[in-house]
């Protein structure tokens, strides 16, 4: 085209980024890559390689090794061998290494960006301006945490070997999110990139070698699903960190159940993008572009549900369509496009199928008038209107450039629709009214909220979800806590259940010595007869029958969870009030210490001194959690922007708690205390053998101003109730103390709604030891951190 013609039409022309050096790099490896294990390139024992494809051109880029179990074993062995030395290097030594790695990534930034674009299909603008700079930033930031580890995390140590499985949508960035915190803390890693996008991980491996990272600290094993399964199933891996689909996350949850492995999952989403009528609408439109057409919508936290206040809906949709006409889609290496290619034909097919289903269900689809390139794997930006919350496309994650629009009338309704999903990853809120925006943010059930912004990421801020979007946080202080464990943990002995009691058949009970007291369940602030109308005998330490308690069943669990759901008062009350109630409980327990001590002597056979110690320790612990109620404070992160990111520590919601038989009063208080202190409502199954310390405790609850529904107790046989509680879709976390089998059952049963779990991993804890059984670790499990991004400026 001549200059004169362009002068008249003023069109854009091609602006290709050269990929010569990236192709040279591939050629230097003869187009084939082995596994990076123990600092060396190792041919796969599987002797198998597979193709990696450029989705924009459908051309083969290279051959990638397909690791099998033997290869994974070798990688874990190398990581294990390297771990102690890496840990012993100390915080400063590791900080030097991470700093060097960050610098090396910056020096190689362009080849990494181009490779990523070729392998994934995303626009080079994104890899160059977002992915790779964030990768470098992540290593810089975590070099800092390594440096500060001794002072900031002095009671913690690395977990050991961490297995990491990452997705294809941000290949190198997800690698950085996984590897940087893990190795900063002194862990070593075995990482599997996604099979579609292994190249930048392999280039990174080479950079690590050049930067002098000790052999075995970082191991990269490429492959398919079975490679991942081999990592997840490996006995010598201490933790699994996974980012990917909820479907695979659920499999991993089940596969790791009972293994004692720590687990963090960052899964799918269907995140709301909420526009109020007082928003800067033009800016909100750009927000939608960044929400759903960033990386072709293949973003776990994509704002894929557009909720618009009814009064501005028509105007907004009109403006949005006009904006969509201006989007440019094409060769991802072109520096003048907004959208590149979809990662693979299989993903394109998923998108096409869901869009078709949306149309079939009656939603109105709209796409811009311009044509999409025929060769390569492309899909145009797509807007659905006339969508109801019940529609498939409003519920299912599409993972493509498709947004569904719905309207709402009031802020309350916006929150309702926003939370009407199985997922809970992120949300974006647009309003120029600070009161409105800051009122909505805490009400959204998700891990990240962006106010007047979208898809902001930074190493200093935690990222992660709730509900079926997974658990755990990556980034910032909260991310470091996911790769460390308390130092005492490794020294704990194996949990062994108490030997069974033999029932003597005798009983000291007589209506003439004491009026009959029937211990019932405690649900919604009232005593409730068990649904089954059966009872269980409670024996003294000698085996004499001293009482009966209700034999709770699944319906009692259901009722208790419902009572917790229906009574949010405790969660909504102020931290100061919660503290007052916990102190009051302590006061009332203290006033009746002789009675509670007597019960412990009778049931557990401890000495009078030990029994009194247990009561006193319980009082003290209630005091501790009263103290903590308004002192386990949120953080303010400092990402590089004009604004703040609030890392709000929020109550999780309803927590199921299954207590052990040991120290029945103290263990119950040690678990209920932190959960209540942080504003959770609890459904508690007390010690099966010694339930009377719990049923006696009703009277403390009744006299301590605790709102109904905050503390629910169901007695009975664990085996009959734990599964129901762990499976319940309206329970958001389950805590369990017991043997390894029980831990496994709880972790397996949690996979339905991907609730958080916290078990003793089959290890025994000493309830009198405050290091093990009180404080920050417990509070951490009683809260979830929501990062609220608040850019400001006028």
């Amino acid at each position: 085209m001549s200059i004169a013609e362009i002068f008249d039409t003023m069109e854009y022309g091609p602006a290709p980024e050269s990929n010569d050096l990236a192709l040279e790099w591939i050629a230097a490896h003869k187009g084939q890559f082995d596994l990076f294990i123990g600092g060396k390139w190792v041919a796969p024992k599987s002797q198998t390689h597979f193709n990696t494809i450029n989705p924009a051109t459908a051309e083969k880029l290279a051959r990638i090794a397909d690791a099998d179990t033997a290869d994974v074993n070798a990688a874990v062995l190398a990581a294990r061998k390297a771990q102690k030395g890496w840990e012993k290097l100390g915080g400063h030594g590791r900080a030097r290494h991470l700093y060097a790695l960050a610098r090396a990534i910056q020096r190689n930034s362009r080849i990494l960006a181009v490779l990523e674009t070729m392998d994934n299909g995303k626009a080079v603008r994104e890899t160059r301006d977002i992915d790779i700079p964030q990768v470098a930033r992540h290593f810089y930031h975590h070099a800092g945490w390594a440096q500060l580890q001794d002072s900031e995390f002095s009671n913690y140590e690395p977990m050991g070997v961490i297995g990491q499985i990452i997705p294809w949508n941000f290949p190198l960035l997800m690698l950085a999110w996984k590897i940087a915190p893990a190795i900063a803390a002194g862990n070593t890693v075995v990482l599997k990139p996604a099979e579609f996008t292994s190249l930048t991980a392999l280039c990174f491996a080479e950079i690590c070698k050049q930067a002098g990272i000790p052999d075995g600290v970082i191991n990269i094993v490429t492959g398919h699903g079975q490679t991942g399964e081999a990592i997840v199933g490996h006995d010598d891996v201490n933790k699994i960190a996974f980012t990917g689909s909820t479907e695979v996350g659920r499999k991993i949850r089940k596969q790791t159940a009972g293994s004692g492995k720590h687990l963090t999952l960052e899964l799918g989403g269907k995140s709301p993008f909420i526009v109020f009528e007082d928003a800067d609408i033009d800016s909100a439109i750009e927000g939608v572009v960044d929400a759903i057409w960033f990386n072709q919508g293949q973003v776990c936290c994509a704002g894929s549900r557009l909720l618009i206040q009814e009064g501005i809906e028509d105007k907004f949709i009109t403006k949005l369509r006009a904006r969509m006409e201006k989007l440019r889609l094409g060769d991802p290496l072109d520096k003048c496009i907004d959208m590149g290619a979809i990662v693979a034909p299989v993903q394109l097919k998923t998108i096409e199928d869901l869009v078709k289903q949306g149309c079939d269900e009656g939603a109105h689809m709209w796409q811009p008038s311009w044509a999409v390139p025929k060769d390569g794997c492309f899909y145009p930006p797509t807007l659905f209107t006339n969508v109801s919350p019940a529609a498939t496309i409003a519920q299912e994650e599409i993972f493509g450039p498709v947004v569904v629009a719905m309207s709402f009338r009031t802020p309350g309704e916006a929150v309702q629709i926003a939370n009407n999903t199985r997922y809970g990853l992120a949300a974006s809120v647009w309003s120029e009214n600070i009161n409105l925006a800051l009122d909505i943010a805490p009400k959204l059930d998700c891990g990240v909220v962006w106010i007047n912004s979208i898809n902001q990421f930074d190493s200093a801020c935690g990222f992660g979800g709730t509900k079926e979007s997974g658990f755990g946080r990556e980034g910032g202080h909260e991310g470091m806590m996911e790769v460390l464990r308390p130092k005492f943990e490794a020294k704990l002995a194996t949990y062994k259940p108490l030997a069974p009691l033999n029932e003597t058949g005798a009983t000291p009970l007589s209506p003439l010595t004491a009026i009959d007291r029937t211990a019932k369940n405690y649900v919604g602030g009232k005593q409730a007869r068990p649904d089954s109308a059966y009872s269980l005998s409670v024996l003294s330490v000698k085996g004499d029958k001293i009482s009966e308690v209700g034999r709770g069943n699944r319906k009692d669990i259901r009722n208790a969870v419902e009572a917790a759901r229906k009574n949010p008062g405790w969660t909504n009350t102020s931290a100061h009030n919660r503290a007052q109630v916990l102190y009051y409980m302590a006061e009332n327990l203290d006033a009746r210490r002789d009675e509670f001590a007597k019960r412990l002597i009778e049931t557990t056979g401890v000495t009078a001194k030990k029994a009194m110690d247990e009561v006193d320790m319980s009082v003290q612990r209630l005091f501790s959690y009263g103290a903590w109620a308004d002192k386990y404070e949120s953080r303010v992160h400092n990402p590089p922007m004009r604004g703040v990111t609030l890392a709000m520590k929020e109550a999780i919601g309803t927590i199921g708690i299954v207590c052990p038989d040991e120290n029945p009063l103290l263990s119950m208080i040690s678990l209920a205390g932190p959960a209540l202190s942080m504003g959770n409502r609890i459904v508690l199954i007390p010690s099966e053998r010694h339930p009377l310390s719990a049923t006696d405790f009703y009277q403390i609850l009744d006299t301590s101003d605790l709102p109904a529904g905050a503390f629910n107790i169901v007695t009975g046989l664990r085996a009959e109730m734990v599964k129901t509680l762990a499976e319940h879709d309206d329970v958001k976390s389950i805590w369990y103390v017991g043997d390894e089998e029980g831990c496994k059952l709880v972790e397996l049963s949690s996979a339905g709604n991907m609730k958080r779990t916290w078990t003793n991993h089959g290890k025994k804890r000493d309830w009198f030891d405050s290091t093990q059984c009180e404080g920050v670790e417990y509070l951490r499990h009683a809260t979830q951190i929501k990062n609220i991004w608040i850019p400001y400026g006028e």
Partner: protein, 328 residues
């Protein structure tokens, strides 16, 4: 899409803005989020770029939109004549010939001077079709007696200026006196007659983007043909975020009324790559019509020199030097 082969400035391809009656509703509902605007402005450069012959063509188009300006206390007739000569032949003819643009009669968009230089400029530009723009109304502060400001417009129009760049009373904005602002601009517009009114907001002194958006809307309602960022004398002049807000206001006004208002960033745009960012912004937010001189002007004095060097570099493949291009 507007395509212009031979530039003709006298005939605007669209109807002139008649303005709207004053209404406070139009500004009360305006919301601007600074961080989001900055994000859009800063990320656009990464989303769009023009290379090689496209870049050359775009830079030539930019030249056709420049209001070649001299606004100095030491301006003389000789200085203004030199400027006008440069306006007629902004790029060396041999370069234009190589670019295949030798026969296009490429000139700058206008010449912009103080009132006292209007006659000189009109004379020097005789037969060229290049309009003369006069800064007016007590430029740059705009605080001289109101009657004198109106008379200044009338005098410049009488002297042959076909465009009047007025300054507003920034105090009206800072005190929220929108009616006074509207009345002031409307009176200036009436004084212009057939001459086009370019309203300088003095954005650096309005400080907030919210003020910029509201002032833009009032200016258009009062009958502005163009809205312009700055006098070039404020400490902060044209910026991309301010431009984004102003052109979004232009879009909103077109949605409301159907009339197209022009945009002129002024001050601080001195590099060729900077003007490409502005052109991209115009094209993306408003469309190709706003890349033509009837709806887009650039207030600049040193920008042309950099564009000339870039064009020669495109032609020769060698980086150029300023002494190779005739000065203004």
């Amino acid at each position: 899409m507007a395509t212009v082969s031979i530039l003709d400035r006298t005939d605007h391809g669209h109807a002139r803005n008649p303005g709207l009656p004053f209404g406070i509703d139009a500004v009360e509902d305006i919301h601007v989020n600074l961080s989001a605007v900055e994000r859009r402005a800063s990320s656009l450069g990464g989303r769009r770029t023009v290379k090689k012959q496209h870049q050359a063509a775009w830079l030539l188009k930019a030249i056709s939109c420049i209001d070649l300006t001299t606004l100095s206390g030491d301006d003389t007739a000789g200085r203004v004549k030199r400027l006008c000569a440069k306006a007629r032949q902004p790029v060396r003819q041999d370069i234009l010939n190589t670019l295949g643009m030798g026969d296009r009669n490429l000139t700058t968009g206008a010449v912009c001077v103080y009132h006292t230089m209007v006659e000189t400029a009109v004379e020097a530009l005789d037969g060229s079709n290049i309009p003369v723009a006069a800064v007016s109304t007590g430029f740059p502060a705009g605080l001289s007696p109101f009657e004198l400001r109106v008379k200044e417009i009338e005098a410049s129009v009488a002297a042959g200026a076909s465009e009047i760049d007025i300054v507003i009373t920034r105090g009206h904005v800072l005190t929220g006196n929108w009616k006074a602002l509207y009345d002031e601009i409307k009176t200036f517009r009436e004084a212009c007659g057939d001459a086009h009114l370019k309203t300088i907001l003095g954005t650096g002194e309005l400080v907030t983007l919210r003020n910029v958006a509201k002032t833009s809307m009032i200016a258009m309602m009062a009958g502005a043909d163009f809205i312009k960022t700055s006098t070039g004398k404020e400490s902060v002049n044209a910026t991309l975020p301010v431009s984004l807000v102003m052109i979004r206001a232009i879009r909103a006004y077109e949605e409301m009324t159907g009339f197209k208002i022009g945009y002129k960033p002024a001050g601080g745009i001195s590099a060729a790559k900077d003007i490409l960012s502005y052109q991209t912004l115009m094209k993306e937010e408003l469309g190709n019509d706003w890349l033509q001189p009837d709806l887009f002007r650039i207030g600049a004095s040193s920008l042309l020199g950099d564009i000339e060097r870039q064009l020669e570099h495109f032609v020769t493949g060698r980086y150029s030097a300023d002494f190779r291009h005739p000065m203004s």
